[in-house]
């Protein structure tokens, strides 16, 4: 018989989609009261495995044991009854409902079918106080922050009495503070006797909270290790199957004439406020310009204006010496722009169409993909196959719909398409969001390659590490203005942090040198 302290044992789980094995004989066990990380590349089969555990998918083969008993989890209902709750990679919330309605849905308190709103709200409030998960029970989901939405998701599972919680990439959409809070919440839950499976691509998060880590690669389990005795490098190598480098290797930039010239640009956002306020900005051929800033300071609007997705209110934009202000997106694309959009599902792909069709979305009307108005499917397919091969997009066939790809592989498909066209300027907005470390390394390499071929790259990211390691120069945006442009090798995380909070450059510089000085002093004094 199995040991009693194991709350979950998945034995030899295989899941086939057609002939493709998303999970291939996977083993995973979860001990009571532990945080167990699940690590694997994009498309390795992590979400699939967890969907099996939560009753959304049925395994093709294999056994699941819960608390020492063999079970068959045929529906989410059964999973609930077994105490298994999942916080999904893409939130499962009804936007128009209140927090309370979302939490009680399917398990409503009622009298003769009529809902008891007051009691429900009180229950939610109590539950949220008990676990320190701050939510406003009466707020509509569409009106609250992503962090609060996530807390509502967690409460949903707790309301159902779950004591085995699955988190599928919970930190991908959160701000650094929210991530910090989530880690504390997870620790608190474990203290209450819950057990947690955590999927994340961020190795430092695993190091911080997890007890053990199971690594899977291409659907197969590789190993389960103790986190305390395994380094981040070892974890990464195990996951990718080769040695991964965290350091970005690059020569100094050799900037030439500007490819992007922005003069006095003002852009209004949907409600009519100025989101970008009369900014000037150049990106030169042969350099990577990073844009740093806290989410919502005008970065998205700036990029939408350059790409032609939003109207420019005043000012001018020149690409490769040609004026593209308020031109149509196709015209701008043809002038020499590549765009890896922030919202990949909305602006990057047509999810219902085949992957191969998605690969020539901007070029389908040109030769050789099209001849006198007729599509040449053979060429389109060949082109797609080549991109899939070169950029290692994991899919069983180029004829699958874009929606069937795992989140990370959707991103890789877009990046492949955009880089392959070799545009004079490549705009990459959050290009590595949701990617595994191996893929991130590869994408960074390709961005730098573009630069070395004398192209301009505009990199927007909320991750300071990424901006600092990949960029040559960094423009910091705050409240619609560019408040400073600094050289990447002359700044540090502290200074950028201050700039992002709106502190002017001289002051930020002063403060950083001052504190550094003080630190040196205290160290000296202690000695």
């Amino acid at each position: 018989m199995s040991e009693t302290n194991k709350v979950i044992e998945m034995k030899g789980i295989t899941k086939k989609f057609g002939n493709f094995k998303a999970n291939d004989n996977i083993h995973l066990d979860l001990k009571k009261g532990e945080i167990h990380a699940l690590l694997g590349e994009n498309g390795a089969g992590k979400s699939t495995l967890m969907n099996i555990l939560s009753g959304l998918l049925e395994p093709t083969e294999g056994e699941i044991w819960v608390n020492g008993e063999k079970v068959s989890i045929s529906s989410p209902d059964v999973a609930n009854q077994l105490g298994i709750g999942m916080v999904h990679q893409h939130f499962m919330l009804v936007d128009k409902f209140t927090v309370t309605e979302n939490i009680i849905l399917g398990k409503e308190k009622h009298k003769f079918g009529f809902m008891d709103q007051a009691t429900s709200q009180k229950d939610v409030k109590e539950l949220s106080d008990q676990y320190g998960l701050r939510v406003d029970p009466k707020a509509r989901i569409s009106d609250i922050s992503v962090g609060m939405q996530q807390r509502a998701e967690i409460l949903k599972t707790l309301y159902r009495g779950a004591d085995i919680l699955i988190f599928d990439e919970p930190t991908g959409v959160l701000t650094p503070q929210e991530i910090e809070e989530l880690m504390e919440i997870m620790n608190a839950l474990v203290k209450e006797g819950k057990s947690i499976i955590l999927i994340t691509h961020k190795l430092d998060e695993i190091k911080k909270v997890a007890d053990r880590c199971t690594v899977i690669r291409r659907g197969k389990s590789i190993d389960t290790v103790d986190v305390a005795t395994t380094s981040q490098q070892e974890l990464a190598d195990m996951m990718v199957g080769r040695s991964v480098s965290f350091k970005v290797d690059k020569k100094p930039a050799d900037p030439k004439e500007p490819v992007l010239e922005i003069k006095n640009l003002t852009v209004k956002e949907a409600r009519g406020y100025d989101a970008v306020k009369a900014i000037d900005l150049d990106v030169k051929a042969g350099e990577i310009l990073g844009i740093a800033g806290v989410d919502g300071n005008g970065q998205s609007e700036l990029i939408q204006a350059i790409t032609g997705l939003t109207k420019v209110d005043s000012g001018s934009i020149k690409l490769d010496g040609k004026d593209i202000t308020n031109k149509k997106p196709r015209k701008i694309t043809e002038t020499g722009l590549g765009h890896i959009p922030e919202d990949r599902q909305r602006y990057g792909l047509v999810l219902q169409m085949k992957l191969e069709e998605n690969m020539s979305l901007q070029t389908y009307y040109q030769k050789p993909f099209s001849n006198h108005g007729f599509l040449n499917h053979k060429e389109i397919k060949e082109h797609a196959k080549q991109l899939i091969e070169e950029f290692d997009v994991r899919t069983s066939s180029e004829e699958n719909t874009a929606s069937s790809l795992s989140g990370g592989n959707q991103q890789k498909a877009i990046i492949a398409r955009e880089i392959y066209r070799n545009p004079a300027l490549l705009i990459a907005a959050q290009p590595t969001r949701g990617l595994d470390v191996g893929a991130i390394e590869y994408i960074h390499k390709r961005l730098i390659e573009q630069r070395d071929h004398g192209k301009g790259v505009l990199l927007m990211s909320y991750e300071l590490d990424e901006v600092m390691n990949v960029s040559d120069r960094i423009a910091v945006m705050y409240d619609g203005n560019i408040i400073a442009i600094v050289n990447a090798d002359e700044t540090n995380e502290k200074e950028l942090g201050l700039l992002m909070a709106g502190v002017p450059l001289e002051k930020a510089h002063e403060q950083v040198t001052e504190t550094e000085g003080k630190e040196r002093e205290t160290v000296a004094n202690e000695k």
């Binding site: 959304l56 609930n80 999942m86 499962m92 936007d95 409902f97 849905l105 398990k107 009529f114 809902m115």
Partner: protein, 318 residues
């Protein structure tokens, strides 16, 4: 004509024309709240109108004064049966909702007229023996001033519709069933992870719409036309859908919008007794409801918030 008589005339004829629209628009609301577009309501109304007419002629001896009410139930039942086609097509077979609805809209009148010809040897049934007629509303008609205007000599089915609207509002927004139905129309994936039977809920929404739409058709033939023929329904199902949108997928809103459209339609009938519009040519008044429908939809549709997952087929993962 004194002012109270005039008001009474306008209110009662507006309500008479509104009654079929109220029920059908609420029907549409249930279906769409569950995520299924049901433009087949036009065809479902035709079936309800046809069935109730036959019923009225056949069973007037058995049910006497209650005949139109029982006929209305019969219309509801046939509407419900017909809507099963739509449910199977859209929920199980994943057909496009508009295509399936169009098929129903094409098939229903053809079938009904064919059967009418087979049974009566003509394209119409001829006059029904016992129509709804006008009623006084229990006790309320005794209230001074308000009573005579709103509750005397008026449309019984309309007040039935208003009652249904109020009950439906409670069902949709205050009960467990309503919450679950709406969750399925907004985000079926989320609903499924919480153990809600998505297909069952969608079926419920469509079948309720069939039942209410069938009753709406039955009122159309038994209260307005007093016969069944190809022109009995003629676009009322579509106007009801407009009322549903205008009413923002809320039963009470749909009811209000239906009464508004009922008012527009009644003008063609009673316009010549109303001083200001007496001189407008009748054709214009007949066009008015359709024109208003278009204007209202053009004005409202951008702002109205439909259920998020409306018209999308839901495929269970497994």
């Amino acid at each position: 004509m004194d002012i109270i008589r005039l008001m009474q005339l306008i209110v009662s004829s507006s309500l008479t024309f509104a009654a079929p629209l109220i029920l059908t628009a609420i029907g549409g609301t249930f279906s769409e709240r569950g995520g299924v577009v049901n433009i087949g309501l036009e065809g479902i109304m035709v079936m309800g109108a046809f069935m109730s007419a036959i019923f009225n002629i056949q069973f007037v001896g058995t049910f006497g004064t209650m005949t139109p009410w029982v006929g209305m139930l019969a219309g509801g039942v046939i509407g419900l049966l017909f809507s099963i086609i739509h449910a199977v097509a859209t929920v199980n077979l994943r057909a496009d909702h508009i295509v399936s609805g169009t098929v129903i809209n094409l098939a229903a009148p053809a079938l009904a007229v064919f059967l009418t010809r087979a049974l009566f040897g003509a394209a119409q049934t001829g006059p029904l023996p016992r129509a709804f007629g006008r009623t006084n509303i229990f006790l309320l008609h005794r209230i001074p001033v308000i009573g005579p205007i709103f509750f005397r000599n008026t449309s019984g089915p309309a007040f039935f519709g208003i009652l249904v609207a109020i009950i439906s509002w409670f069902i949709l927004f205050k009960t467990r069933f309503g919450l679950r139905l709406r969750s399925v129309g907004e985000n079926p994936h989320a609903a499924e992870t919480l153990g809600i039977k998505v297909y069952t809920m969608k079926y419920a929404g469509v079948l309720i719409s069939g039942f209410l739409g069938g009753m709406g058709g039955a009122i159309q033939s038994q209260a307005i036309h007093n016969e069944f023929g190809i022109l009995t329904v003629a676009g009322q199902g579509f106007i009801a859908m407009a009322a549903m949108i205008f009413g923002k997928w809320n039963p009470l809103g749909a009811m209000g919008a239906a009464i508004f459209f009922g008012f527009a339609q009644s003008l063609a009938r009673v316009g010549n007794s109303i001083p200001v519009i007496q001189d407008i040519p009748g054709v214009w008044l007949q066009i008015l409801p359709y024109l208003l429908t278009i204007l209202v939809l053009v004005g409202v549709i951008g702002r109205a918030e439909a259920p998020a997952a409306i018209g999308k087929t839901y495929i269970k993962s497994k």
